[in-house]
Assembly symmetry: C2
Homo-oligomer: 333 residues x 2
Amino acid sequence: MKKIINDPANVVTESLRGLAAAHAELLRVHEDPALVVRADAPVPDKVAVISGGGSGHEPLHGGFVGPGMLDAAVPGAVFTSPTPDAVQAAVAATTGAAGALLIVKNYTGDVLNFETAAELAAAEGLEVRSVVIDDDVAVADSTFTAGRRGVGGTVPLEKITGAAAARGASLDEVEALARKVIGQVRSIGVALTAPTVPHVGEQSFTLGDDEIEFGIGIHGEPGRERIPAEPADALIERMVAAVAEDLPFAAGDRVLLFTNSMGGTPQLELYLAHGIAERRLAERGIAVERRLVGPYITSLEMQGISITLLKLDDELIDLWDAPVNTAALRWRS
Amino acid sequence: MKKIINDPANVVTESLRGLAAAHAELLRVHEDPALVVRADAPVPDKVAVISGGGSGHEPLHGGFVGPGMLDAAVPGAVFTSPTPDAVQAAVAATTGAAGALLIVKNYTGDVLNFETAAELAAAEGLEVRSVVIDDDVAVADSTFTAGRRGVGGTVPLEKITGAAAARGASLDEVEALARKVIGQVRSIGVALTAPTVPHVGEQSFTLGDDEIEFGIGIHGEPGRERIPAEPADALIERMVAAVAEDLPFAAGDRVLLFTNSMGGTPQLELYLAHGIAERRLAERGIAVERRLVGPYITSLEMQGISITLLKLDDELIDLWDAPVNTAALRWRS
């Protein structure tokens, strides 16, 4: 293992220090428990939107903390769920009378620990709701998951619920919106190489020089099948078909197409893949009305990509376009 | 070689198609010769700012095309200089009476081909100037370079000259500003792994499991020395010292610190490195007043980072903060 780190036990803390130094105008970092919180938290009379999970998927979630998106992110150790007390601390730091929505990716540890934290917060009189995202079409159950995994759809989910909360939506409204997004977002990922978790010190799995893991999880969990490497045209068609046929997305649908790098894929390949996905969707009569291309939910240095489709309507487009100011996503409408 | 591509000969063209599809509001792509041009080019009465070079360093340069930065980018084949006719076409597509500034990284092929293009444009009555950036402190001469290489400093150079041009600065003023930036920006890079050029099909060099190339070039050119892998604290101090002692940057100086991923380094490690660099500079009494952290000038999937320091004053801070709207850099002041 060769990495730009000191002690593997301190990787997350040291990385958070760098995040805080780089983005002091947006966020503050607490080290114990590890939290990333909006610089101006708590924001009065606003529903707090909070997410978190194991580290190693950056910029998810700390890079999405700021006006128009998350109020707090709770990073666990690498590929390890955050503890209930850390989640509870994030709720305490951001949540007032308007309550909080917890966005939880469907991994057993995350689901349990966020649930426990929500109960602890409720016992203190705070109104906290949770939603669980499970957008990965690859497999029905997985290594760390009962049901489908939560993956790339988490990014538009956080953006859209964050925008609604910023506009003053109630907790009921933000929760209903989150369930709507979860109901119409689907993803699939592939891996060309494996990541190496610092405190493990060796690659999470092995892939042959001519193999691709189709349906990979963001922690390197096995997917649907291991396939021979194939040209991008065939691979992207395979990915688009898996996602489009699941919901299903149909001719006439309007979508957000999110082409994501798992970390180690060069941007040259990522945009090439994105262009193919756009054409494959056009052939199906599916209208790509918004795009996001880049490394937004990663698996350390893993080479691979994921494709996420979110079915859009005017409400979701308006919320997607709303201003956001975070380390990783930043625009004004 | 395992990559998300079709024919290695078409990688750049296919990637540009994806870029165009993803960012139609910002830019247009021409395929032969390969060009990325602002969607609203030519912008009347504005100095055109144009750059380019071999592909494989994305988002440099196409990801920086848009209001407040570049008018056009000229991508060559992977790690290969663009041809003079391509550069000339970029000038023709963007340049009016206000003239154009060509920003050239110091590689022999780039310098020759941009010079030839400038002469061809001058013969057609256009006023075109060139500046050559050579900010890499690693080595005096290199594989493809007489003199120092042009690397990470190119990003703030393009941002700052683009901002001045957007505000209506004359060609004389934009050129003088570019020379000022080049005079006070310095960089160094390290590699943990090698990239693989698609049309070559094998890694550009080999590094042992316990080796780091200190002073790597963005095409994998050798640096100062091959060192044993060491903790991040030691490695970042070595990098900061190399850059800070070169200009030199001294106590009391105000700087932009740009911590760049070469492509394959996880963001977890990149922010960790950034945090250490901030502390090392603080210990020297150098004030970090602006930051940029991310993969902005890459070497395909190479794992490694570079550190760039730009000495700031009020003028440069004001231009750095000025609005920019490109695929890779986007903010309002």
